[in-house]
């Protein structure tokens, strides 16, 4: 037997909500972790807010009351779902507190399932706009954020949205990483806004990813500049969409809006989002 290098040792932080909707989200996290051989670490909140400290920002995440619902059964429910998935249960307990009712949650994770769907309002569950907290978290986090679909949906393929920015390049690396770990087929989707196909292919070549792309990418689909919505429709509904967020300047984003937000409010797929501070390595 050949000695192995370090096993996939990734951890995903999941903030558990003890409701049927929370169960769906957790099932999604479990599926994600099982597929890429990562481990979900569950935090059952005891207060309706917590802080996450990043290198240049501190983000306060406010949870609605449903996250604190039925505390007596939350632990038991999490264990049952872990057992069902065949994954040993792991919990996170905060050690540091900024104030007695304000725990600090570690930002030393490899993935985090977004507590975006922390709203009772249906417009914000699943489709709709991201809250400012999630946007800030995506901007600051050094790990990708999983924005789970509202209902558990086992994804069977990976779709990377590649627009050529540095964040998109990060997303491509992440997509490759997930494809390698999961063995799922990978497709790249590109809208040709200003440049030709060749320019995008050269970008990949310059980033020394050509070999991996040839090996793991099943298809690279190009669309004309007006074909963005067509592209969204053609992405399989059971595909994990990997994309970069906030690759443009603030002013451009205010004027033109964010592509990521548009995607998030249009498709029902699971999204894996890399922000500008995300460090993705294929190691």
């Amino acid at each position: 037997m050949v000695p192995r290098r370090l096993p996939m040792n990734y951890k995903l932080l999941h903030i558990f909500r003890n409701t049927p909707f929370g169960r769906e989200t957790f099932l999604q996290s479990l599926h994600f972790c099982k597929t890429i051989n990562a481990h979900p670490v569950v935090y059952i909140p005891k207060t309706d807010k917590f802080l996450m400290y990043f290198s240049n920002d501190v983000v306060q995440v406010n949870l609605d009351n449903s996250f604190l619902a039925f505390p007596d059964t939350a632990h038991e429910h999490v264990i049952a779902l872990f057992d069902e998935a065949g994954i040993p249960p792991r919990f996170y307990e905060p050690k540091d507190f900024t104030a007695s009712t304000l725990p600090d949650i570690s930002s030393q994770f490899d993935y985090m399932c977004s507590p975006r769907s922390i709203s009772d309002r249906s417009s914000k569950i699943g489709l709709g706009h991201l809250g400012p907290k999630v946007r800030r978290m995506i901007k600051q986090a050094t790990f990708p954020i999983l924005i789970a679909s509202p209902v558990f949906k086992a994804w069977k393929s990976i779709s990377v949205f590649f627009g050529g920015s540095s964040n998109a390049m990060n997303a491509l690396v992440l997509g490759l990483k997930v494809a390698i770990a999961s063995g799922c087929p990978l497709k790249i989707y590109t809208v040709l806004e200003k440049d030709t196909e060749e320019v995008y292919r050269n970008m990949v070549r310059d980033s020394e990813l050509e070999e991996l792309v040839d090996q793991y990418v099943n298809e690279w689909c190009f669309y004309e500049s007006t074909g963005f919505d067509r592209m969204l429709y053609e992405v399989p509904h059971d595909s994990l969409i990997v994309l970069g967020a906030y690759g443009h300047g603030v002013i451009k984003e205010i004027l033109l809006g964010s592509k990521m937000e548009y995607i998030q409010s249009t498709v029902t797929n699971n999204l894996l989002v890399t922000g500008p501070n995300c460090r993705i390595s294929l190691k």
């Binding site: 037997m1 000695p3 192995r4 290098r5 370090l6 096993p7 996939m8 040792n9 951890k11 051989n37 481990h39 670490v41 309706d48 807010k49 802080l51 400290y53 240049n56 920002d57 501190v58 306060q60 406010n62 040993p88 792991r90 050690k95 540091d96 507190f97 900024t98 104030a99 007695s100 009712t101 304000l102 600090d104 570690s106 030393q108």
Partner: protein, 575 residues
């Protein structure tokens, strides 16, 4: 657009990256101005609302006013701002100690509003801690906007504190010293200049908007030899009162947490209790600057026993206000309790020694303030300079030094941690720069951990393992479960010598038979201090990091020492 960006980058590189002290000085001035504005806004709004409510305080129903104020304050913090409880200063110290000075943007205004609601309605608290919180958060967020590093950010947090204190008391030196003594905990050239600039900027903002000289203006007084003995006695008295004040604040706060009612109801009950006491003794309400002015001026009309009672009632109502859901600081209550203590002590002294040649009652009120502040905050320098500056004279500086030193020393003996630090010390989160705990806490396990170790399978036959160690210079080999990928144990080259020397074992044994399963492990949740303690206790130089059953890497003492030295040099600036 790109040319504009290039010009900006070149300007930035020329003027700012040339010397980061320049950046800190300019940013410090900006932070000082904003912190000063925040302090002035709170001071002016409090003055006008307190004045508005004064005629209504005599009515019996007025007892409800502090209750309503505390209720709104609590609801505002909890429901609108969604801030944690606490009066602010420990939160700023925590941010500096553990989080590189990161503070939320909302903290720039949240405590200002909540403390305004508490104090304006009659709650017994001071506006100083909220303005410290606000100023510090302004500094932190300006640092974030400029993309400064942790150390620069902490300096700007100090600038915010200094600007706020300098502005609210019109006391720039006290602002500088408070910032360095309480918040940052380090006297370094690189910090002091920007903080001094911020303090001056804050004081000047106050001067420009509220052109008054000093907060309290005592009449001129002379110091006699008898005052030395009097000051020693007063220092002992204020030390005892300080300890009572600190302990009452904590006890009442603890009691509130155990009371099974919702936080807003608790705030309402606490506020109404404060209002009820205030009907019989109005001076305990609000920030209490008016009675202080009278005491310092030597015109305070109350009888000895009432003043004595007033000390304890003020302690009690402050503890209720802050512990039961109100918002504010302890500076102003310290000043009132201190001046009451000084006057009580003076009156008692004159009763026992009617012919003693000592200075005036107003001077003892000043000394009492310094004594209580030094005892509660255990920061003698801040107290001395604050009292000297807010009273506009250094005539009593010798006596201030005496009272502050004795009071803070004695309080420290009885109660080793000051009110600001106690919670943080109990949580193990009070770490001053350059201390062992701080250096260790600033090193992350991610920096130290060596992940380049080769893992081996539990079912690997020993002969294959021999081939691996032949081509490697490692002494530790983590054993991993084939089924789950979990860490199972460690094979140490030094402990398997007997098998390596006898080839008969090579095909007979598997690694799961010879691995060490008892080797102590660390996880990412452990701090470095704990990891070093493990190493010392078990006398080992290497420790595997196992996080959620997965092997993550190894930590060695040699690596810790290297990084420890580097961090210590960075924190203390000594080579």
């Amino acid at each position: 657009m790109s040319k504009l960006k290039q010009t900006y980058n070149s300007f930035y590189a020329k003027f700012f990256l040339f010397d980061d002290r320049l950046v800190l000085m300019i940013a410090g001035a900006v932070v000082g101005i904003f912190a000063g504005l925040a302090a002035v806004a709170l001071r002016l709004s409090l003055a006008s609302v307190l004045e508005f409510f004064t005629p209504y305080r005599q009515y019996a129903w007025a007892f409800i006013l502090p209750g309503i104020g505390a209720l709104f304050s609590c609801l505002f913090l909890d429901k609108v701002m969604r801030e944690g409880a606490g009066h602010g200063v420990p939160e700023v110290i925590y941010a500096v100690s553990r989080r590189g000075g990161l503070l939320r943007f909302r903290s720039t205004f949240s405590r200002l509003i909540s403390s305004f609601l508490t104090i304006a309605s009659g709650g017994s608290a001071g506006p100083e801690a909220p303005v410290v919180m606000s100023g510090s958060a302004i500094g932190s967020n300006i640092a974030k906007f400029l993309g400064l590093n942790d150390r620069q950010r902490m300096t700007l947090v100090g600038c915010g504190t200094a600007g706020a204190i300098a502005s609210i008391f019109h006391a720039p030196v006290a602002g500088l010293i408070f910032s360095v003594e309480i918040i940052l905990g380090e006297w370094k050239f690189v910090n002091i200049i920007p903080i001094a600039i911020a303090a001056v900027a804050g004081a000047q903002v106050c001067e420009a908007i509220i052109p008054t000289k000093e907060l309290f203006q005592p009449p001129p007084f002379s110091i006699f030899t008898g005052d030395i003995l009097g000051s020693i006695g007063l220092a002992l008295f204020t030390a005892v009162i300080s300890v009572i004040f600190t302990r009452t604040l904590r006890k009442v706060g603890g009691l509130a947490k155990r009371t099974p009612v919702s936080p807003w109801l608790r705030a309402l009950i606490g506020g109404c209790a404060v209002g009820s006491i205030g009907i019989f003794m109005p001076m305990v309400l609000g920030e209490g600057y008016h009675p202080i002015m009278e005491m310092v001026g030597g015109t305070f009309p109350m009888a000895f026993w009432l003043i004595f009672l007033g000390i304890f009632l003020k302690i009690f109502v402050t503890a209720i206000t802050l512990g039961w859901g109100g918002s504010g600081g302890i500076f102003a209550p310290c000043l009132l309790i201190g001046s009451l203590s000084g006057v009580v002590f003076y009156k008692a002294m004159m009763f026992i020694f009617p012919n003693a040649a000592v200075t005036s009652e107003g001077a003892y009120a000043l000394l009492g303030m310094a004594g209580i502040m030094s005892g509660v905050m255990q920061a003698p320098l801040s107290s001395i300079f604050l009292i000297a500056e807010i009273t506009g004279g250094y005539e009593a500086i010798l006596l201030l030094l005496l009272v502050s030193s004795i009071s803070s020393t004695l309080s420290h003996i009885i109660e080793p941690a000051s009110f600001y630090f106690k919670d943080l010390i109990e949580r193990g989160e009070f770490m001053r720069p350059g201390t062992d705990a701080r250096v260790l806490s600033d090193l992350s396990l991610n920096e130290i951990i060596d992940t380049s170790y080769t893992t081996v399978s539990e079912n690997m036959v020993f002969r294959k393992f021999i081939n691996i160690i032949r081509n490697s210079d490692r002494n530790h080999y983590p054993v991993i479960s084939d089924e789950t990928g979990d860490y199972l144990g460690m094979v140490r080259v030094s402990s398997i010598r007997k098998y390596t020397l006898d080839p008969a074992f090579y095909d007979m044994i598997f690694l799961n038979q010879i691995m060490d399963t008892d080797m102590v492990t660390a996880s990412f949740d452990d701090n470095l201090h704990d990891v070093l303690e493990f190493m010392e206790t078990f006398n080992i130089d290497h420790i595997p990091v196992v996080d959620h059953h997965r092997f993550s890497g190894m930590i060695s003492k040699a690596r810790i020492l290297d990084l420890y030295r580097r961090e210590l040099i960075m924190q203390t600036n000594i080579q």
